[in-house]
């Protein structure tokens, strides 16, 4: 009696999500191509990251994942809320937009990026609370059962998971020119959200979201998937943070050496992160 609606065949809203993701990907590719024609450097790896991220969003919206209903839902949640955001953020879409927009558009985008509400949202601790807090709300209140009954609410939840995930990944990775925060705060946000995620997945192992009745095997499989999947993405995020720290420290070292040495080497070319 696994007559699952919402998670099963794609509804109109899922098609819209997939369409938006595809359009964004096309726009990204077009902007990157324009930048290269202009003679700017834009590493192809970034195109690859962004394309992979969009593909995961489309797959999450359109295709049902295997496994029991809750396990399939959890796979979808992992793909849309954690894997896709990280991939998209690695593509540095905002950097690309700022470089390829005409001056007027660039000014407007910068004004948005520097606006007060966004500077609040991009605080790592706020982003972590929004991301992990949304999950607690979803699985520990009747929201999950409600979203299962009403497709539009389910789609809204899906969109929130994606947006909050992108915000969180963007803030922790800090690759795009968002308001800057120190390594320590970003690390605290990452560890805090990781802890909230792992605690939530463990409680799910023991108790289903209120108002739902999933089979015990389905529930435990979903909880384990959430736990280990969350670990993998957390490690990937930590690697991004660590790489940045390593690169920054290397630049500092190069500066110190330049200052100390008297040879007339030209300054090292611009580091990869401008």
């Amino acid at each position: 009696m696994v007559h699952q609606h919402g998670a099963g065949q794609p509804g109109a809203l899922a098609l819209i999500v997939a369409g938006v993701a595809l359009c964004a990907e096309v726009a990204y590719g077009w902007a990157a191509a324009r930048l290269r024609r202009r003679g700017d450097r834009w590493p192809p790896l970034r195109d690859l990251w962004c394309a992979a991220g969009s593909a995961v969003v489309v797959a999450g919206a359109l295709f049902p994942f295997p496994g029991g209903p809750f396990t399939a839902h959890m796979a979808q949640h992992l793909a849309t809320g954690m894997v896709a955001p990280l991939l998209l953020v690695l593509g540095r879409p905002l950097t690309l937009a700022l470089r390829s927009l005409p001056p007027g558009g660039r000014r407007r985008l910068l004004a948005v990026l520097r606006s007060r509400p966004l500077s609040g949202l991009t605080n790592p601790l706020v982003a972590a609370a929004l991301d992990a807090g949304g999950l607690w709300l979803l699985y520990r209140t009747p929201l999950f059962a409600l979203a299962h009954e009403r497709p539009w609410l389910g789609c809204l939840v899906h969109a929130h998971v994606l947006v909050a995930g992108v915000l969180f990944s963007a803030v922790v990775c800090s690759l795009d020119p968002l308001p800057r925060h120190g390594m320590a705060v970003r690390s605290a946000g990452l560890v805090g959200a990781g802890a909230a995620h792992s605690v939530l997945s463990r409680t799910l192992y023991a108790a289903a979201p209120p108002g739902t009745g999933f089979a015990a095997g389905d529930l435990s499989a979903a909880a384990e998937l959430m736990y280990y999947g969350g670990d993998l993405v957390e490690i990937a995020l930590a690697v991004v943070v660590g790489l940045q720290w390593y690169a920054a420290s290397g630049r500092r070292l190069a500066r110190e050496n330049r200052r100390g040495a008297t040879d007339r080497r030209p300054p090292a070319s611009a580091p990869y992160r401008q």
Binding site: S187, L190, V191, G192, A193, G194, A195, A196, H197, S198, V199, R202, T203, Y205, A206, S220, A223, E224, Y227, D231, E234, I235, A238, V239, V241, G242, L243, W245, Y246, S249, G250, L253, E256, N257, R259, G260, A261, T262, D263
Partner: protein, 171 residues
């Protein structure tokens, strides 16, 4: 006892470059991070989840235990990754003190293991190593190993400090 004067070795052309100064304190801290991460990994992943000695979630565990475990778990992975990057950076700066690193790893592992074995297992009673068996051999093994790690780590740290005391501002 001829302390090798390593400081100005890499390039003797100009007085400046900072490369090659032994960065002892940082070596220790990167080791501690890696060590805590390893201990958290062994406890969480091997015992909890692979061997199923104590379970993914012990229903009897109070909420505090769950949250503290989750925090340690998240911190464990993060600590290993950042610790490894710190080692890479120390090597880049040619300032890695191997003995201090090893001492830090062992001290971190031992300290966390001892904390887990005494405070979390016994004082707070969050979970035990196993259930339905005589706990004594397990507890003794876990805690004695922890003390051994801690002891060897401290010895290594002390020898790392005394062996290269020429460049005093290590900390």
């Amino acid at each position: 006892m001829v302390t090798p004067s390593r400081a100005p070795s890499p390039s003797r052309t100009t007085p400046g470059p900072v490369r090659g100064r032994p960065l002892r304190a940082r070596s220790v801290w990167s080791g501690v991070l890696i060590g805590v991460g390893i201990a958290a990994f062994v406890d969480e992943t091997v015992f909890h989840q692979l061997l199923h000695w104590h379970h993914f979630y012990d229903r009897s565990t109070p909420g505090v235990g769950l949250v503290s475990d989750g925090l340690f778990h998240a911190f464990g992975w993060f600590a290993v990754v950042i610790g490894l990057f710190m080692v890479a950076d120390l090597r880049h700066r040619a300032g890695l003190v191997g003995r201090a690193l090893a001492g830090g790893v062992l001290t971190g592992t031992g300290a966390f293991q001892l904390y887990d074995g005494t405070v979390q297992h016994k004082l707070m009673g969050l979970h035990q190593i196993r259930y339905h068996v005589d706990l004594t051999p397990y507890d003794l093994t876990w805690n004695i190993l922890a003390v051994v790690f801690l002891g060897v780590g401290v010895v290594l740290l002390r020898s790392a400090r005394s062996s290269k005391s020429l460049s005093a501002p290590g900390r």
